[in-house]
Symmetry: C2
């Protein structure tokens, strides 16, 4: 394809402000009369609140209030985090916010928070996931939830929820959801296979580890409008959640999504109800900036999961049946879970003759489950891709050839019941097959191994809108309400530039709030470039229609005979007959002007997703004495649809791979048997640091998404999915030891080597 | 016409916030680290600046800086108020800002401003308008201007500037502009008339007398963006003026037009360059709130004018020729003046066989001329409509019948050289003719009289854009960058409601700033409802297309067979098959939604104006002993195109009439012979207070504007135009005395009665 500007690596448009420290994050804005909130967190995982003693805290100088749930003007009795930002009568995890101390200063609130005594009557904590689902198990929550999870539920559970069926399995009341998908007789298909492998795989709670802890500031305008300046992935969903929490009409709330210091799925209306509730209660501006310790304890990390998986294949490698039973730990999240999506993704980007997969959403007294980059996918891929390597070994087949034989192409039916749209599974597997590292397997020293794995993310859809406006200096502004979580602004610039015919240097992106902005859903689900980008493309094309109409009159040439090239409208085939966009804009935006403003609005509503698939190669050395896994090299090949800005695409691929390395080797949120968090700081919780990350090769594969802007699709989530199983397969290749639990810490590897 | 919601009187949408004090005006916003500016004004009308002594002021506690022109980072050497916010080497009127004291507090700046000593070398002040234009006259400005007046010039002079001709009249260098319009031999036509009348009419400088003095706050964001929160009529023109002043790119400036406390044409980039210049120089936030005294002295009131006028008619009343020579006092405004528009409007809404009118823009050492509601029109109408009554008397014709005989209709050629568009001149004259007050003329007591006069405003054009967005609660937001100076928001609500099919109660207007907003020109020229309203209509219709598309799929009915009625989309003829807009919006704005957001963008670019014409009747009693004119009753009949909200239309008609009463009887900015202002406070400058304003009857006449939204047009300016001559004609009818100068103070009337 020959569109200008597309496919050229450029610096991120937000980079200059970020590297010079000019970016103003949500915690940075000055608000007059601001009060500061500090949370009082539950010290127990499960208990009834007998009393909250606030006298000592209130007696401290500079303390304005100590708020409990009853002090917030809540309009709902639900028990999700929006509806119950502070625990009402029951605490359901250690770290749950119980009270909020409001001080004139951070220090006053901090000091006083230690004087709030929460009197608790202990209840049985539910911390073991498999135990929790057994009939008769103690319940993780005694008080029933009164309502659903609002718009957040639709965002998170809406990807692919599967279908409920009529099976009446005997389960405990902790099982809030059961998603069952079947096609054919999976057990029979497996049993009739030439080779069958199975295993149980465990993944822990994992923290999103964004750089910026969660923060929100709320105040009331004199008109009564509640303004919330916040670090969020989605301004409109935050607005609707606040409307639900406090019974406010949408037009009484204005949400300003400030530049985001990372989120990865974790920033959805967790702290906003706290700040807003305090501001509404006290009628003064209130800011809540979580400390890192609070952020570890009180937010919403990725769930732990247990996956029982069994798959079979014929001698020639053709996959037969897949059976999965997936236990998703929702913690206290009654509203939604990833059992639907993880039990869909466990089939991988492969064809199966029959399937029988079931996902369970189980409440426990650990955290409130939330989204984290490709929620449910790394866990599913870890199980499946580990077993596929075992299958290849059993059948004596090359692991990549085995995968290629079964890789889906467009039109193949997915286990969710819909045919796959365009997908580059074959292409990315071919890329890693042809990479020199794969060929190097045969010449490795002892204790080294190279593993492969593939995984995909289906990509989300959500209607979106955008506006493009050309100013009198000939530059273009893209107006969007989408939050830039992963560089999407830089993509919008290129999309608008190419669709209109203007250098990207002359395009800027401006973020609007919920009062004035065109609609955009929350940033997440790998859908922003695909959906909002499509709206930006439409807006730029609509603006182009306007500039052609004006130029047509000025040049006396029909619009169809004109083109816009690098900011100049010119006659096709006669570039000398031309007028610049800047000149036209000057003729337009003035008193007495005769042409409509060069502005356009674009809307999008794709009904087909754009899955992105990534294959990884990982080269490891395993220290048999210590069990330590050293990463030597890593390769990611990803189908990105179209690389609008290859530098940013590669950044996403590397970033995803590194977070996958975290899943593989380092990260776990551990609790003790009473549900107390043991790894609640970066001293205890290990993320991959630079020296533990190897060189990562990125192979961009372009299989254009038919409905994406210039073929582009969302690419943020796919690269995290299969990093861990590639490493696990490399460990197995190096040592013969198969790891069934993440992270693959030295202790676990050491034990596996000896088992 | 049967559109719903149109033509129903409703409260202004901004009323609740304004009456409860919730509206936050430009001076109300809190800005952290804010510094306060106070101006040092020139005490002389014309002088060279020898030195500005700042030491004493700087020595005062709390004083941050004393800035002179050289301290501001100006990028231009022009001498208009944007380019030269502080005088450089020459002061050209008493009250011109020379220095700016910046203090940590208002009080510090205020006190220190009195310690700044500006050393001036006096120059000859030019204060007599007629003297100023004579060849050899002293010049009001010795330093030549280096450039034109930027976008402001296009706004103000762009209405109708006439054409320059080749006459080489001998004039002084103070005459900056000469606009000459001729058609036929006007002198011969007049000389051949059956009746000829002539006179010289004078009007003074008049202050806009908005409630809120001019105010602006400016600061730099960490990214370097200059933000200006201000009380302005136009955010985009303010942005371009600031870009010109300081050599900044447009994307480095964000102008936020705050709710306006009145403007009437006077708020265009006068204080913004001062606040912005200080903020740029000091890199700290600076606010300048003019005191009322500063606002009187240092801003830009309506110009004084002298009009020499001669007209003739045949016995049957047919107008023959018109000759005018109009002297417009521009004060220091080298960039633009109203000589073009006033010399067009002097012909009134009437047909003339021949015309010869010339307007002169003359610089003096009084103020900087600015716009004030229908600039140049009250002056022109005062002269013409006074003479028309003399003509009627001379010919023994009824004054209204005389006017009706000559009133223009669509297609008649205007003296500007363009045919009149649709105009309701005949209709409004018929309305006042048929009003009982006109019939009451024959039964009046002595010393009472009833006068008539008509006048029009051509209406401006400017391309505009707007966005409409439907939220999940089924309400609509209109996003506009237009400043609501006269209730236009309330009109937008009705336009959007009617165009979409939603109750106005569910529509709100939100104002966007220059960073995110759709383009709208400055509010002025009676063009906002006409042009931006048209864009709002287009945006609502575009959103309606989206809602119909979604409903079509939901209901399985073709869009053309659907209608939107009061928030419900239903089958035409089968209203039971329906779905609400709210339901559709909820299906749209969600993860996995299948329809584009219900949003639309509208653009407008009318190329034909929509003149509004108003006829007045005034009933007065004149006290022959004191010369005092008492208003007993007043009638305004105005062609408003279509009354979107009759209550607001009547408000504009009454407000315009009252300001016309101010012109007629009370208001004048007087200078002494050295150019010092004598009436610089509301103690000296009389505006019409409630007890001096009579009952005002409003007669709404609807002659739809073909290109206006639902036929509506701009109506703000027309009602001020002919109030003064109606009163003058009433005074003449009561007493036989003809006044040639405004205001008709008791002293002037007393003298006229005795002359």
């Amino acid at each position: 394809m020959s569109e200008p500007y597309i496919g050229v690596s450029r610096p991120r448009v937000d980079a200059p402000d970020k590297v010079t420290g000019a970016t103003r994050y949500a915690a940075d804005g000055y608000v007059h009369g601001l009060l500061h909130a500090r949370l009082v967190l539950s010290t127990e995982a499960h208990a009834r609140i007998r009393a909250v003693h606030r006298e000592d805290a209130l007696a401290m100088p500079g303390v304005v209030a100590v708020l409990v749930a009853a002090d917030l003007p809540l309009a709902t009795t639900g028990t999700d985090r929006t509806a119950e930002p502070l625990a009402r009568e029951e605490v359901v995890f250690a770290g749950q916010p119980v009270a909020m101390v409001i001080g004139e200063t951070q220090a006053a609130a901090e000091d006083a928070s230690e004087l709030v005594f929460v009197e608790l009557d202990s209840l049985q904590p539910v911390v073991d996931l498999e135990e929790a689902m057994r009939p008769g198990a103690a319940l993780a929550r005694l008080v029933e939830e009164a309502e659903g999870g609002g718009d957040l539920e639709s965002i998170h559970a809406g990807v692919d929820h599967g279908r409920a069926d009529a099976d009446q399995e005997q389960l405990s009341g902790n099982v809030l959801d059961r998603v069952h998908r079947t096609n054919g007789d999976a057990a029979a298909a497996i049993d009739a296979s030439d080779s069958v492998v199975s295993g149980t795989f465990r993944t822990p709670w994992v923290y999103q580890a964004y750089i910026e802890p969660q923060v929100s500031t709320a105040w009331l305008e004199p008109s009564g409008t509640l303004v919330v300046s916040t670090s969020t992935q989605g301004s409109f969903v935050t607005r609707s959640e606040l409307a639900r929490a406090f019974g406010l009409s949408l037009d009484r709330i204005r949400v300003v999504a400030e530049p985001l210091g990372g989120a990865f799925g974790g920033k959805f209306a967790l702290v906003e109800p706290l700040a807003a509730g305090a501001a509404l209660a006290l009628r003064r501006p209130v800011r809540l900036v979580l400390t890192r310790r609070e952020d570890f304890q009180a937010t919403n990390p990725a769930s732990a999961q247990v996956t029982h998986l069994r798959v079979g294949a014929r001698k020639d490698g053709t996959f037969t049946g897949i059976e999965a039973r997936m236990l998703v730990d929702r913690g206290s999240n009654a509203g939604w879970g990833v059992e639907g999506i993880t039990s869909s993704l466990v089939a991988g980007p492969y064809r199966w003759q029959a399937h029988d997969v079931v996902g369970y959403g189980i409440q426990t007294n650990r955290f409130t489950f939330g989204a984290y980059r490709a929620p449910g996918a790394p866990t599913a891929a870890f199980a499946l891709e580990s077993l596929l390597d075992e299958l290849a070994q059993a059948l004596g087949l090359d692991p990549i050839e085995l995968r290629l034989k079964n890789a889906v192409v467009e039109g193949d039916m997915g286990i969710g019941g819909n045919p796959f749209p365009t997908i580059g599974a074959v292409e990315v597997l071919e890329q890693v097959r042809d990479h020199p590292l794969w060929a190097a397997r045969s010449t490795l020293p002892d204790d080294e191994g190279i593993g492969v794995a593939a995984g995909y993310w289906p990509g989300g859809n959500e209607p979106a809108a955008a506006v493009c406006r050309v100013d009198t200096d000939g530059t273009m502004t893209v107006v969007t309400s989408a939050v830039d979580m992963s560089g999407v602004d830089s993509g919008f610039v290129v999309i608008a530039a190419a669709a209109f015919g203007l250098s990207p240097d002359k395009v800027r992106v401006v973020h609007a709030d919920t009062a004035t902005g065109p609609y955009a859903g929350a940033s997440g689900g790998s859908k922003v470039t695909y959906t909002v980008g499509r709206a930006v493309e439409g807006a730029a094309r609509a603006a182009r229609v306007k500039v052609l109409a004006a130029a047509s009159q000025e040049l006396e040439i029909a619009p169809d005979d004109l083109e816009v090239v690098d900011g100049v409208v010119r006659a096709v085939g006669a570039p000398g007959r031309s007028i610049t966009v800047e000149e036209l804009a000057k003729k337009t935006l003035r008193f007495g002007g005769r042409y409509e403003p060069i502005e356009g609005h674009g809307g999008s509503a794709q009904t087909v997703g754009a899955p992105s698939v990534a294959a990884h190669l990982s080269h490891v050395r395993v220290d048999r004495e210590t069990g330590e896994v050293e990463l030597l090299r890593h390769v990611v090949a990803q189908d990105v649809g179209r690389a609008l800005n290859p530098a940013l695409v590669e950044g996403q691929m590397r970033g995803g791979a590194v977070q996958g390395i975290g899943w593989a080797l380092f990260e776990q949120l551990d609790h003790d048997e009473d549900g107390h968090l043991l790894t609640g700081s970066f001293l205890d919780y290990a993320v991959p640091v630079a020296e533990r990350v190897p060189e990562i090769d990125t192979l961009i594969v372009e299989v254009p998404a038919p409905d994406g802007p210039f073929g582009a699709k969302g690419i943020g989530e796919a690269p995290v999915v299969a990093a861990a199983p590639a490493i696990a397969n490399a460990v197995a290749a190096a040592t013969g030891a198969r790891l069934h639990e993440l992270p693959m810490t030295p202790a676990r590897v050491w034990r596996a080597l000896r088992s």
